[in-house]
């Protein structure tokens, strides 16, 4: 049972997760930011590693990725920074990024290294179920890493069942079919989609992401899932001066 499973066993509503891009706005800030987020009350974190062609991301996270790459961030550098992660941070940590950097690093080596520095789960939006199951799942499982799959309003019930079966910590529900960084509009169809998922009584908890920007959208999302993830809005904050001092206010502003 990794830290994620323990968290979900102890708490099953209003979970708050924050995403940020490693290497943005500068190198050697990853663990500082993570530590500040934990102290401010975040329940778990997603640390993004940058990619040159992030097709699922909107302008904010794209920009953070470009800056991070210019700063020299890479998986190698990230793992170096994360060496001190577990001496300073105790909440669950996920790594999130695109498949090609992992493929070049070596999937098995990546999983080993992630487990070694104390990472609990991985989110790779462009690694499909077929390839994961056929070629890579054993590396994740052998290293105690949860692989997190995404579900959108267009995902079929059959596929959601399959994803539920392959998941062992939580399922990442996208608020709508969108790239990151757009505001959530809780339309009737979105509500219907959340209700449809709830009615499926999945074995894994669900966390809603994409389009969560403030306390109000966070609270709404938590009506339908075990928690929600904030990404672009927080990355924007990291682009502002004096961001370290504003992290606590940001987190408390989302979930008082």
């Amino acid at each position: 049972m990794n830290r994620l499973n323990k968290l979900f066993a102890s708490k099953n509503n209003n979970l708050l997760s924050i995403y940020f891009t490693a290497g943005y706005p500068a190198l050697n800030t990853t663990v500082d930011i993570a530590e500040a987020l934990e102290k401010s009350g975040a329940d778990f974190l997603e640390i993004g590693f940058p990619y040159s062609d992030p097709v699922a991301d909107g302008p904010t996270i794209q920009h953070s990725s470009e800056v991070a790459l210019e700063n020299g961030m890479s998986l190698k550098v990230l793992f170096e920074e994360l060496a001190e992660l577990r001496s300073r941070v105790s909440i669950p940590i996920l790594l999130m990024g695109y498949f090609n950097p992992i493929a070049q690093y070596g999937v098995e080596r990546f999983c080993k290294k992630a487990a070694e520095v104390g990472v609990d789960g991985i989110i790779v939006p462009d690694l499909p179920i077929y390839e994961y199951e056929k070629m890579y799942s054993s590396y994740f499982i052998d290293n105690g890493l949860s692989n997190i799959f995404l579900v959108t309003p267009q995902t079929s019930e059959e596929r959601i069942r399959k994803i539920d079966e392959l998941s062992n910590s939580f399922i990442y529900l996208l608020s709508s079919s969108t790239i990151t960084g757009y505001n959530l509009k809780l339309s009737d169809s979105v509500e219907e989609y959340y209700k449809r998922i709830t009615a499926m009584k999945l074995k894994n908890p669900t966390i809603i992401g994409f389009g969560i920007t403030d306390s109000s959208s966070f609270t709404k999302a938590c009506n339908y899932a075990n928690g929600a993830i904030i990404g672009s809005k927080f990355v924007k904050l990291l682009g502002e001066e004096g961001y370290m001092d504003n992290i606590e206010g940001f987190v408390k502003g989302i979930r008082p």
Partner: protein, 602 residues
């Protein structure tokens, strides 16, 4: 999967079956069969197109009789359905395709086939009966797992519409085709054309597994697949489920063929370039895609995909473009079909290719600058993908090359395959031989090259030469020579070869030709490269420009700079005097006049 229709005997019925284009048509010369074709005149078989192998089926007939009938009826294959020995079979091998049939039941000993292995071309496994076949019953197909030889086989006996889907699931590596007979008849020997049509449709919608082709999971060897975020899954899945149904449909084919002929101006000429032939000491042929409407091969794919989009009920088209050729082709077909069109183009490319931006706008398209990343083709592709994520229901994404998640590489290759399909027929007409020694084309993503290679890929005697852009030199740091500089990885949804850093970040390529300025290649090209089936080389900016000028001066054709890369490779080839060489003139050079002018100072 090949299709053989067997037991034909009525002239009109034969014509109707031949129109369905089976791979084999079988005629039974066995007096005890109700399908005996004794009264059929030899002339009745003359109307059958050469692409269909006319097959005589015999049961313990004398070799003299078989010999005589092969000559009389012009059989291309004989099917020996009795107790013929390996030596008996061997006597016909080389002259015609020899198919040896066996009746199979649960006691069948596959060991006995060993003696036939070197003496026949194909086996046919039928249900065992006392009467040498014709029972209309199936045998237990699981038994086929016991067959381990490397001679391909036909499956026969009781195949009908009820079980044809199960036939499609047979994965035996030597499973060659299916024999359709009694379950498709109104009476013995009279085929039910509607039922056959239905079966053909089901069978042909299965991906034909070929050595260099795509498999059902979308892979070409190690390359391909669909590495896409879940947000794109429904879009791509819809295409994957429907594309073969749609593009194999008769209505679709008719509309596609009509537009290619009357709107695009196909067939494009195959021109015997005499001064080039003299200069390079071989018969050089130009496949003139530059003469297509809109000035390049890109229109072939755009027409196919707009018809596909219409049948999927899409109301909006998006596309990416680098040099603007694909953007112009897409804007053109959207105007033609009155569908909204949005083209993503790198901000830098919009400046470099301003006339094409104007063309797209005149054609009614909205051109959206891609301002992220390096602001060129790969970023335009990213923006188009992002648009598609946000518009999953009503929008079709017309990808312009043989790249992207499966099924795109296959869709684009099929629509471009018209290039090699026409070439084969034109070569046959002009030289008497449909296979050349070489086919050559330039490669960015690789769509004109895949179209030029497509129908030659499985003919291993034909050498495939793909020419990448070396830019200022392969090792100059400013190059787009993907196979020379790239590694395996994932780009724009498929596993392929791409230019990247050690950390897996995509490297911005460079070429003077915007159409070759792409950091990857299509997954099928990656497969042809890795297996050695294709030869991948590269040409510098300067070599290409010189070759472009030479083509103007020797043949009176101003080629696109992309095409000029393929022409430049001729300088480095060593041909035999009788070699036939086809080179794809993928586009015309009008769009590149500024570049030519700046370089040569005209």
């Amino acid at each position: 999967m090949k299709i053989k229709v067997c037991g034909l005997k009525h002239p009109e019925n034969i014509k109707a079956v031949a129109a369905l284009q089976p791979d084999y048509a079988g005629f039974i010369f066995y007096g005890k069969s109700p399908r005996y074709m004794a009264n059929l005149a030899a002339g009745a078989l003359q109307t059958i197109p050469a692409s269909i192998k006319k097959t005589g089926v015999f049961v313990n007939e004398s070799s003299e009789n078989i010999d005589r009938l092969v000559t009389e009826y012009g059989f291309n294959a004989v099917q020996l359905h009795g107790d013929e020995s390996p030596e008996f079979c061997a006597a016909f091998k080389g002259r015609v395709t020899v198919i040896k049939a066996f009746g199979i039941n649960e006691d069948f000993d596959f060991e006995q086939l060993k003696d036939y292995a070197n003496n026949v071309d194909l086996f046919l496994f039928d249900t065992k009966t006392k009467e040498y076949g014709g029972s209309g019953k199936t045998f237990d197909w699981a038994i086929l797992d016991q067959y381990k030889l490397d001679i391909p086989f036909f499956l026969s006996g009781g195949v009908g519409l009820e079980n044809i889907k199960e036939v499609k699931n047979i994965t035996h590596p030597q499973f060659y085709g299916v024999d359709l007979n009694s379950r498709f008849e109104n009476e013995p020997g009279l085929k039910n054309i509607e039922k056959l049509k239905e079966a053909f449709k089901i069978i042909k919608n299965k991906i034909q597994q070929m050595k260099y082709g795509v498999n059902e999971q979308g892979y070409y060897g190690d390359f391909g697949g669909a590495y896409i975020p879940e947000m794109l899954y429904p879009n791509v899945e819809e295409l994957r489920e429907q594309y073969l149904n749609i593009i194999n449909d008769d209505d679709f084919k008719a509309e596609f063929d009509d537009l290619l002929k009357n709107y695009v101006g196909r067939p494009s000429p195959l021109y015997h370039a005499k001064r080039y032939s003299e200069k390079y000491g071989a018969n050089i042929f130009f496949k003139r895609e530059d003469l297509n409407h809109t000035g390049s091969h890109k229109i072939n794919n755009a027409i196919g995909q707009i018809l596909l989009a219409k049948r999927l009920g899409k109301k909006r088209i998006i596309a990416e473009t680098g040099a603007g050729q694909h953007g112009v082709a897409t804007a053109t077909v959207c105007a033609l079909m009155n569908i909204e069109c949005v083209v993503y183009m790198g901000e830098i490319d919009m400046v470099r290719q301003a006339p094409n931006v104007a063309r797209m706008k005149m054609l009614g398209a909205k051109v959206v600058p891609a301002t992220s990343g390096s602001k060129t083709l790969k970023d335009a592709t990213n923006e188009a993908l992002r648009d598609w994520i946000g518009n999953p229901v009503d929008t079709h994404y017309i990808i312009g090359s043989v790249v992207g998640p499966y099924p795109y590489p296959d869709i684009v290759a099929r629509f471009q395959s018209i290039i090699s399909q026409e070439t084969k027929a034109q070569l046959l007409e002009q030289t008497g031989k449909e296979l050349p020694q070489y086919v050559m084309a330039c490669v960015g993503g690789g769509s004109n090259a895949m179209g030029m290679f497509y129908h030659f890929i499985e003919d291993e005697a034909v050498k495939l030469v793909a020419v990448e852009a070396a830019g200022k030199g392969v090792n100059s740091g400013e190059s787009a020579a993907t196979t020379a500089l790239g590694d395996e990885g994932v780009l724009h949804g498929s596993r392929t070869i791409l230019m990247q850093t050690e950390d897996g970040q995509v490297v911005e390529p460079y070429s003077i030709s915007a159409g070759l300025d792409y950091p990857g290649i299509g997954p099928q090209h990656a497969h042809l490269f890795k297996t050695g089936r294709g030869q991948y080389v590269s040409i510098t900016d300067e070599e290409a420009l010189q070759a472009g000028l030479l083509c103007c001066q020797l043949e009176g054709i101003i080629p696109a700079i992309e095409t000029a890369h393929a022409l430049a490779q001729l300088e480095k080839m060593k041909f035999e005097a009788n070699d036939n060489v086809v080179i794809c003139i993928s586009g015309r050079g009008d769009k590149d006049l500024d570049t030519y002018i700046n370089y040569f100072g005209y």
